[in-house]
Symmetry: C2
Subunit: 329 residues, 2 copies
């Protein structure tokens, strides 16, 4: 009988140990510390059915900025590099671009002039290079570019420059009943190209800037055609508007990295009940980039000041992240 008791105890111990092993750290690329702890505490709190901060799954809406938040955005937004490559590819059909800015600068790779052309110049490039085709045809062009283009510093594909800790955070939230959305200033169809594959976020859960589309029947074939005309700018004040239109609910968790995310975070965290605002601060010049208040791309100034007042959690990339990018395959 004593032997049997011992065997039973050993079996129980083995089961307990395997249960512990079956729950590995859901955020292994995050260093232990207050940032990680704040995230985990929030998730535990809103999923605790008996607790006073419980939020039912249908209200667990989490929104993430993309550029500089889920993947890198330096030296400039990757979509701008795509637009420049598209303009170069289309240049033979547009001889007039040779002498017309900002197309001239794009063709010549003159980033200084391009930067000086501002948002208006970039919008011109995007509209000229992203329109005149169906969304499916556009997806093909984006996919081909992403499959081959290389980041100038890291010599990796752009879709390899997603942040490993953020992939873990997205999965952790979904495993806890959250629905995760991208809310990007970038183009909605551009981001949709890789959102499911890289982030596990399906096309319908991407909110972004867009150009207009129009329904046309061409040679009896029903077609949606992309037009060279802005439809919606999903940045700053546009983010709460885009979320309202697209999701129809105020998030309880919002994550961003720049002043373009200020309004999304402010609106999210000023709602009733438990709320979480997360700011990624790029502090790691060695593994990625270090920039904030003076950067033209991804400027983080007003939102960094606000984080303190409003209780937003600031990720210090250098100290909070064990890894930045996924390992090279």
């Amino acid at each position: 009988m004593q032997l049997v008791s011992r065997l039973v105890l050993a079996a129980v111990a083995a089961v307990v140990a395997s249960a512990a092993l079956a729950q590995p750290d859901p955020l292994p690329s995050w260093n232990d510390g207050p940032t990680k702890q704040a995230i985990v505490s929030f998730v535990e709190k809103v999923t605790d059915e008996g607790g006073e901060d419980y939020v039912p799954p249908q209200d667990r809406v989490a929104t993430f900025d993309n550029d500089g938040n889920l993947w890198a955005e330096k030296p400039v937004y990757f979509q701008l590099l795509f637009a420049i490559d598209r303009v170069k590819a289309l240049a033979p059909e547009h001889p007039e671009w040779k002498d017309k800015q900002p197309f001239k600068a794009a063709i010549e790779g003159d980033m200084k002039t391009l930067a000086a052309s501002g948002l208006k110049g970039i919008a011109q490039l995007v509209m000229a290079s992203h329109a005149g085709m169906s969304p499916a045809e556009f997806q093909k062009i984006v996919g081909d570019w992403l499959a081959t283009a290389q980041h100038p510093r890291f010599k990796r594909r752009y879709t390899d420059l997603v942040y490993q800790p953020m992939l873990e955070l997205l999965a952790y939230l979904r495993d806890n009943g959250f629905t995760t959305y991208i809310v990007s200033g970038g183009g909605i169809e551009f981001v949709r190209n890789f959102s499911e594959d890289k982030y596990g976020i399906p096309p319908a859960q991407v909110v972004g800037s867009s150009i207009k589309t129009q329904y046309e029947v061409i040679d009896s074939v029903p077609t949606v055609m992309r037009l060279p005309e802005m439809n919606f700018v999903d940045d700053k004040e546009g983010k709460p508007v885009g979320i309202t239109q697209h999701i129809g609910q105020r998030p309880i968790f919002a994550s961003g990295n720049s002043d373009g995310d200020y309004q999304m975070l402010d609106w999210t965290t000023s709602g009733e009940g438990p709320r979480f605002g997360l700011i990624l601060h790029h502090t790691d010049a060695e593994r990625e980039y270090a920039y904030d208040r003076d950067s033209s791309v991804g400027r983080l100034d007003k939102a960094l000041d606000a984080a303190q007042d409003k209780g937003w959690v600031v990720i210090d990339m250098k100290n909070d992240w064990k890894e930045v990018f996924p390992p090279v395959e």
Copy 2:
């Protein structure tokens, strides 16, 4: 031994019988016949992993019109009745409406003049009565109205006038890995009020017409404000555009009941691979209404002719449906 064999056989028979019982008809309110058979065949075909018509779950997108398709739309769109009641309620604050059409007609319940004011008149009513508040405040107003207003003929709440067979179809598709969306000419926030509760469709899976919204910080409180200005008309050519913007995928299954759904069905069913177009034909004057080519609300003319050519399945409400509305509780 013989006894044991018999017992085993009896047990096996019991298990088989209970398995059959465990799979009841998923569409009990549909009469057996070619319409029901076509729906079931399509679903079985696209979910058959070994078959040549298999469609992976992430591509099983199904879109449903709302008015006259998921719930009734006679004598006029229920949202118009809501707008009229709103205008009446707001009239004391707007003495100028007494002498101004279409407000005068709304206040006096003069449906003939209202109908003559056309879409432009209706849009004026909607913009005046649906704006000047946050989406959450609007939800409250809609919810209060739906909880009390009664349909003039059926003396039931409007949300009781959803179609029982369509509720079963939505659930059947979801049980088979489809994602179901509403794509309505009606207001997106209006439909979102009851879409989850009545149809099992969450707010983010509602596509509809919309007025503009704007982000404002009022007394330090971040707010999204509804503006009296049209943003998007999700009808006819607008439906494929709204689907592209919102869902980012072409559906494989589309369901509608009027010429306003023609483009959605044409675009859906002209894609590659297995596709399904479904038209609800209102043929049941006794249990609901009978109308098609000459109706001002929900006119079904061009799409009824096209159904034959394009292989869309037409539901004959009178003959295909055992029940129309859910039982009175």
